[in-house]
């Protein structure tokens, strides 16, 4: 029922980053150390809030599970220009 979480932490982080860039308008080039990235935390929180997940700002199992599901490519929050 639950897809396994990638063992490699970098893979997990890259998956999250790719998802947030695509759907939450996270700008490339702004991110520093994953631990100190407020931008990414903020975007994860927005995503968790939209999907009614527990808002932790972290890439926990439930968040990754939603990120891995098949979906439509229209951003949730980015403004269409």
């Amino acid at each position: 029922f639950t897809k396994p979480v990638p063992a490699n932490k970098t893979d997990t982080w890259l998956l999250g980053e790719r998802y947030l860039r695509r759907f939450y308008g996270m700008q490339p080039g702004l991110l520093g150390n994953p631990k100190s990235s407020d931008v990414m935390t903020e975007k994860i929180r927005a995503m968790q809030s939209f999907f009614k997940l527990e808002v932790t700002g972290k890439l926990d199992d439930n968040t990754l599970e939603v990120m891995k599901k098949a979906r439509c490519g229209v951003p949730e929050v980015a403004e269409y220009n």
Binding site: F1, F23, F50, E54, N62, V66, A70, V74, Y80
Partner: protein
């Protein structure tokens, strides 16, 4: 809706299919697109006209990876499709990822459902965070009319209602777990998790999850009916039995057991019983109690037969279940058993019944089990 609420200014919107997927017959693609547009036209004054050449408002195509809009697809799985909100040029255009497998049933990705979602964007709908709505961004299979009340409210805010539309039955909104009036349809354990069924949905309460997870029954088990009446786990047999109407299904883990559905009458119930309201396995006795209207039955799991002396009255055998107005509860919606206590659910309350002391010892809100 999208920021600034873009919409088509005319109620006549044109579309054109520029290419086809090889996964389906052309006629099946045309039918999926026709039906997907109809989903929206039935609740609004919008009309759709097909163009065979030239530029239409909604240009429909299948493509893979970078397909001409600098918004590439990502190969199989992941992104399925995207569409642009109403506007000139690319506005309204709808693209499907050719790397997906497109179907006309519940296997892989149903083109009709994905197209209906994308046309929602092409008409001005943004994403919804109601998991039961068509505009929820994550794919799940569902049968029947796909719009929820949330979808209809959104599209009618842009275009108004269809003045002469036939009554459609929208999908109800997702239940809110902490609604004080929440009642539940069924509850069961499954290998240490608790599954709580309500309308088309079920919550999954896992000891390692901080929050209950809500999902559609049909997206997890497409073979099950949309609504469940009762469920129980026999942990010794490692099986969960799900009841809906006169049929029952068995799950081993999350997998449906072959050979089901079976009729509930094969348990020994009379043909006059058309539905089981609640079911619970009492591990201490090896008996399963089946609640039907104002009575309950006892099923011996070991011998596979109904116990003699049943049905018995719920009100007589489980006294002390009182509603706020003082009326005795004589029917139950759901039931579970734990550590010598039977939990009987009726409307928005649950009654903790001590099996040893033969009385109700506590009353709680039904959604206590959803951490509310």
């Amino acid at each position: 809706l999208f920021p600034r609420k873009p919409k088509w200014q005319n109620t006549l919107v044109t579309f054109r299919v520029t290419n086809y997927t090889p996964d389906l017959e052309k006629e099946d693609v045309d039918r999926a697109i026709h039906n997907a547009l109809k989903v929206w036209s039935v609740v609004t004054p919008l009309k759709f006209k097909r163009l065979r050449e030239g530029i239409a408002d909604i240009m429909i195509s299948f493509g893979r990876r970078e397909h001409g809009d600098h918004n590439p697809f990502d190969g199989p799985e992941g992104l399925l499709a995207h569409a642009y909100p109403p506007g000139i040029g690319i506005g309204g255009d709808t693209h499907f990822d050719e790397d997906e497998i497109w179907t006309k049933d519940s296997h892989a990705y149903n083109l009709f459902l994905v197209a209906a979602h994308e046309f929602g964007h092409a008409l001005g709908m943004a994403h919804s965070n109601d998991p039961g709505s068509l505009m929820y961004p994550v794919y799940s299979y569902t049968s029947g009319f796909p719009l929820s009340e949330d979808d209809i409210k959104g599209i009618q805010e842009l275009y108004g209602p269809n003045p002469d539309h036939k009554k459609v039955k929208p999908q109800p909104e997702a239940p809110k777990k902490c609604d004080p009036e929440l009642s539940i349809d069924a509850v069961t354990e499954l290998r240490g998790e608790v599954l709580i069924f309500k309308d088309r949905y079920f919550w999954r309460v896992h000891p390692q999850f901080t929050e209950p997870e809500l999902a559609l029954i049909q997206s997890t088990w497409p073979q099950l009916p949309k609504k469940v009446n009762a469920a129980y786990e026999n942990s010794e047999k490692d099986i969960v039995i799900i009841f809906s109407g006169i049929r029952m299904w068995a799950l081993n883990g999350y997998t449906l057991v072959p050979g089901y559905p079976k009729y509930i009458h094969t348990l020994g119930l009379p043909k006059s019983i058309r539905k089981i309201d609640a079911a619970v396995y009492i591990s201490d006795t090896g008996k399963t109690l089946l609640f039907t209207d104002e009575e309950y039955w006892s099923y011996n799991e070991q011998s596979g037969t109904m116990d003699h002396g049943y049905p018995r009255s719920i009100k007589d055998d489980f006294p002390g279940m009182q509603e706020r107005d003082g009326d005795e509860v004589d029917e139950v919606d759901a039931a579970t058993y734990k550590n010598g206590y039977l939990y009987l659910y009726h409307e928005n309350l649950q009654y903790e019944y001590s099996y040893n002391r033969r009385k109700v010892v506590r009353m709680m809100k039904a959604n206590d089990l959803l951490n509310c």
